[in-house]
Symmetry: D2
Subunit: 429 residues, 4 copies
Amino acid sequence: MRIGRDVIEASNAKLRADHEADYAALGERLARRGVSIDAVTRQVAGFSVAVPSWGVGTGGTRFARFPGPGEPRGIFEKLDDCAAIHDLGRATPTVSLHFPWDRADPADLRAKAAELGLGFDAMNSNTFQDHPDDPRQPLSYRFGSLSHADAAVRAQAVAHNIETMELGEAIGSKALTVWIGDGSNFPGQSDLGRAFDRYLGAMKEVVAGLPDGWRVFCEHKMYEPAFYSTVMADWGTNYMTAVELGDRAFCLVDLGHHAPNVNIEQIVSRLIHARKLGGFHFNDSKYGDDDLDAGSIDPFRLFLVFNELVEAGGRLDALGPSYMIDQSHNVTDPIESLIRSADEIRRAYAQALLVDREALRGHQDANDALMASETLKAGFRSDVGPILARARLDAGGAIDPVAAYRASGYRARVAAERPAARATGGGIV
Amino acid sequence: MRIGRDVIEASNAKLRADHEADYAALGERLARRGVSIDAVTRQVAGFSVAVPSWGVGTGGTRFARFPGPGEPRGIFEKLDDCAAIHDLGRATPTVSLHFPWDRADPADLRAKAAELGLGFDAMNSNTFQDHPDDPRQPLSYRFGSLSHADAAVRAQAVAHNIETMELGEAIGSKALTVWIGDGSNFPGQSDLGRAFDRYLGAMKEVVAGLPDGWRVFCEHKMYEPAFYSTVMADWGTNYMTAVELGDRAFCLVDLGHHAPNVNIEQIVSRLIHARKLGGFHFNDSKYGDDDLDAGSIDPFRLFLVFNELVEAGGRLDALGPSYMIDQSHNVTDPIESLIRSADEIRRAYAQALLVDREALRGHQDANDALMASETLKAGFRSDVGPILARARLDAGGAIDPVAAYRASGYRARVAAERPAARATGGGIV
Amino acid sequence: MRIGRDVIEASNAKLRADHEADYAALGERLARRGVSIDAVTRQVAGFSVAVPSWGVGTGGTRFARFPGPGEPRGIFEKLDDCAAIHDLGRATPTVSLHFPWDRADPADLRAKAAELGLGFDAMNSNTFQDHPDDPRQPLSYRFGSLSHADAAVRAQAVAHNIETMELGEAIGSKALTVWIGDGSNFPGQSDLGRAFDRYLGAMKEVVAGLPDGWRVFCEHKMYEPAFYSTVMADWGTNYMTAVELGDRAFCLVDLGHHAPNVNIEQIVSRLIHARKLGGFHFNDSKYGDDDLDAGSIDPFRLFLVFNELVEAGGRLDALGPSYMIDQSHNVTDPIESLIRSADEIRRAYAQALLVDREALRGHQDANDALMASETLKAGFRSDVGPILARARLDAGGAIDPVAAYRASGYRARVAAERPAARATGGGIV
Amino acid sequence: MRIGRDVIEASNAKLRADHEADYAALGERLARRGVSIDAVTRQVAGFSVAVPSWGVGTGGTRFARFPGPGEPRGIFEKLDDCAAIHDLGRATPTVSLHFPWDRADPADLRAKAAELGLGFDAMNSNTFQDHPDDPRQPLSYRFGSLSHADAAVRAQAVAHNIETMELGEAIGSKALTVWIGDGSNFPGQSDLGRAFDRYLGAMKEVVAGLPDGWRVFCEHKMYEPAFYSTVMADWGTNYMTAVELGDRAFCLVDLGHHAPNVNIEQIVSRLIHARKLGGFHFNDSKYGDDDLDAGSIDPFRLFLVFNELVEAGGRLDALGPSYMIDQSHNVTDPIESLIRSADEIRRAYAQALLVDREALRGHQDANDALMASETLKAGFRSDVGPILARARLDAGGAIDPVAAYRASGYRARVAAERPAARATGGGIV
């Protein structure tokens, strides 16, 4: 299945001359500002982001799921797709697994990943669905999991998280991401305070089970699947939780999990201040948790997040946040969406690197709002495409990875092997 | 299956004395204001709202669906459940069907409905899902239906709407509700103007197929399942459409389909002004199209909508809007949720009827903002529970319909007959 | 100026018979549920809320201010108006002052308040405006105050807060409320992290200046007057601040200072959990910080906040939160708005007291979402008007305080004494 | 006062070599795509936008106004500032006046504008403030203007609009923009339907007074200064109004006047479809009507609006929309903000011109969502700075207009002539 070097090289051959010209022209322009384009390219090349195993399948809404051709049937086919993404884009060397969806023999997972040149990022547990065939889950999560009113359900959810970490440890992961859908649909359905207390109690048991060297990332989300209250609804609750859970607990920021109009980059700044920024789930959104491709709706917002990361410098390095993509691909080939999303994330990083920080700081301290704003935007306005292409090229990837992917015939090949999935709809309006 | 009169009467017997006392006390208080409680009760009793056939099944989110016991397996079992709702609550004499979900022989549908004492409200077409087994739908709606770039898909969607009307005509319906999910997930994916033109063209064919005496209701929705643009996204587009489609086209307002903070009651007022208000899909929501029980999140908003309806008086009667519930029940027994939702809708109506309109108008004309506000709120603050109970009681229903339903053992009986449905999850984060 | 007892008694005389009937009927109904109406009335009577000195003047927007007749010209006339509010409503025995607006000789303030039967609540400092004539403020707050890039401006702002506390101590206040407008209008204008560090540094100096027995309340607000970032933008930042500032720092919740759709009552619950809830600024809003009369837009939301307070019980008592109104009255007589707002706040409290908490807890623990929701709403649906009236009456106030106020001729009398203010507009579109 | 050619040329001299290199490099890159940079530059140079007379003064919020040095004291000094903007940026040849703020002898206005090389754009009436000294406005607009309950107030507001047009006609304007603040702060305060009827009635009188060749633009806004309902709250009401008012009435879109998350570019598309797009008030915002500099918060959104305009092509030309900036400058020198805002608007236009529309249409028709999205973003990612600079340069403007402005010493010179304004605050929290 693997996309061959020949395909990539043939694609690059056609584009190389133009790329060289563009890179040189940009390099010349940056040099005038005293910036070495090669240095920026190296920094960008050093930045990678994990892809989610579930992201290579077609997503869906509560109304319908329209599968594409060649949907992966299990974790090993998902890893094949992840390899295609990384072979072309060279920005996504690790995969984030989701249990129990991706349950498999750890040795097999390690072997497959090694063969594909991939590693494993944070593990994701799943206590927001029932798995009727799983003997480990006799109790339903309909009314919650880690915050459930019934201690037996909480214990089951804790055990699932422990199991997820065991599997993760066996494949070399170093972190657990916990997102729960617990909450309520009606005022009164749940006691807001007691539910949070129960959640904290259960999470303390999860934290007690963290393997050596592991961290836990808690993920907040304003709403959905619960539509009135969500136990872990906002970054304030997440921060409060991380403080109560101790030194190994951190906050994960999903860009689509906030209220309308919220200044997300400032939340990032606050969590860096508190040394509790654990990482990101990157995606983009216009309305709710739309899970669209990173940077597709508001690229400036993505840039502003990276501006905070670059600005934080050493303080961020000390935190070592985990970068992951978390998207749902309903109308595109998931492989293509993940390739370009990783690229958009790197684009924002490259643009943030190009900000003249000394000048910016000077304007800020002088309350020169206009020049501060323009100095920041100068980074964003930079067309850093040549830098991104060079970072891929230097690492053996494609100048135009989507074009190379299409030329490779990968999708047709897997579609020939993997049976077509059935369109489904939820019966919900 | 039918809930027996004896069950209802036994339940009422226990509550009747208190009910009489409450009704008398409220009547006395209203009489002091010159209001006849019996007249209000009669008006309330005259107000009914349709239940959606799909609403008696458990809903779900894109993350999971947790079915309850005794889920109806088809339209005939759904009608049984609808009868239970109406037998107890006496506010929901009609059912709104959804095709192709509810496809059946029209004669059988008519016979079943007649047996249960139910009628049929507006028909709902479905071009937001694929139905792989339906030979009438060979083409996918993944990228749209009535606005699809491919004329063949549009023609298929038009034909489906025509078929929906044919079935509706055969069972005595008088209206078609058209809601489509068409839109795009990314800027650029769709040409916003051309997509709308295609939609209008297709809808003109649908309108041309309207049976005599029928109306068509177009339903707008801000987002979901499309997450960047939606062809029929707002009431402005809906109104523009209704004008272009002519005298038989009207706008349907779903309370959960608007942007945050929008003043929905003013939209209702504008559509009444333009004589284009076709009807409602009642539900409640806090975040997006949450489809929660009517009045459960913001009961004052529901009251303000009814205030516009009562205020419009004769202008509204000339429009004869269609009242429907459209909810998704994830954590409650759908029968219970629909009983109380119908009650909440009548509650808002009753409260609006209690507003002293002459005084209100006087305060408005005098710019006495405080007294105008207080006069309106006096209606809302009225505890009209005794009026609602009396309207049910007089029509043979239950004073406390949820209590009577629980006493009836209906859910256990249907659960014994209907096999348990399986919990499902979309594999989506 | 004082509204005479005779006016109140004359007004009550006309309403007393109906009031007695209503109170008796409600009492009878509550008794059937095992609730003593007199006990509830006593609890309600024990609940009071502070009025803001600035609230008795007409507010305005950036577009215009339309003053009403008889605007108070200074703090002593404002106190006269506050006395009128309390004389009629008997729910607002204290006034919250704002410096430097209300600067005056402390002895005079104490004497005036004693004469009027009023006390003083939390002090409010003001570093969001320049006061060109105040020799203590030579430096401008245009670009911030406690977080300003210039240490001299921060020092000036700290000194102002210290002075505010000194004045407060002299008049018997026990708390300082700090709200700042600091933030930025453009990405880049301000370094989000450094600005917060500077704010924390300055606030530590303020805290160091707290008199014995005092607390400080920090108030967050999403936006306005800053339109891109606000240093103290959300409850997460507020909580983080309160933790860093220590045991005497608490979070103040203004109901209008959150992002759209946010679940405010859950924030209240979280702050109670963390023992950091300092108090409230009550008002209502539909869009932003609209500062409308409490309960006028979403009365159910106000009830849900009080539901958390009642639910917290002893934990809340240990915190002793400070209850204040913070509204801007543009289209009503401020005295009338404050009377009815205090009443609405008490209404929400009374309704929350009527919730059957044992039943609620049972339904919650059984995951009976529908009955839990209905049990809570039963409290909200109660028409507690007779209880509110009785609480006023028993304390010497008016059954219908707005009617008594209008009958008193107070506004005309002060308008005759106080010169008309001039309408102004900002020249801003 | 005028900024001399020598200042501009001196500034350009330092930057010209780099500019030429950048322009050539971009030209070479575009040529490879078959695009002539000079053709694009010419199109950009042909695009201009009006500046608002009120925008050259410092804005404010309801909390405070912090004036900058050299605030213009009247319309003639405002025109001086507008000339400075156009002399440097060459994108803003016209000024939009606001009555009665800018009332002056028409002959003097014409003479001054001619001297400065400026023209006049649409006229703005003002019925959202009281002007106590204006004998033409004896009645207050506190409770509305064109929709006021009192016919005398409506007549006064109509007369003001007529007068505004008379003044406009005398100075060569061709359009009237009507924005009103009419609405209500509390449910019940205003009858939503009757208020709209009164508004339509009054506007019909305004339309009857339109001089030959004039158009009227109605401007909608979701909220502020009214905080519950606004008569002209959304584009649906605006469109309905424009239809009822007839062929000379059009809708004006202010980018900051919509609900959160709304897809503004689709509204633009709908109004083009209906041939009712009258023009724009450009600005940017994150929360409400923040009136920030265009493109400063979400530059991609501005680009998407221009994408619709370019896509519309001939249909747009037939409409001839009016382009205006409407911003409030609180923390910057207004002259600088207006220079860069005009530039940002042109930037979005230039980027939209660079979209490969044939390829885009092909991807759209093939439902290739990813390539359609990427094709559109390729335009946005283009760093068109050199094109903007060249358009200014060719027209006699500055390569770096803010730098040239600062070098000119203009602000210091006007500050020496114009007395310092006083900081003010509204007394509102």
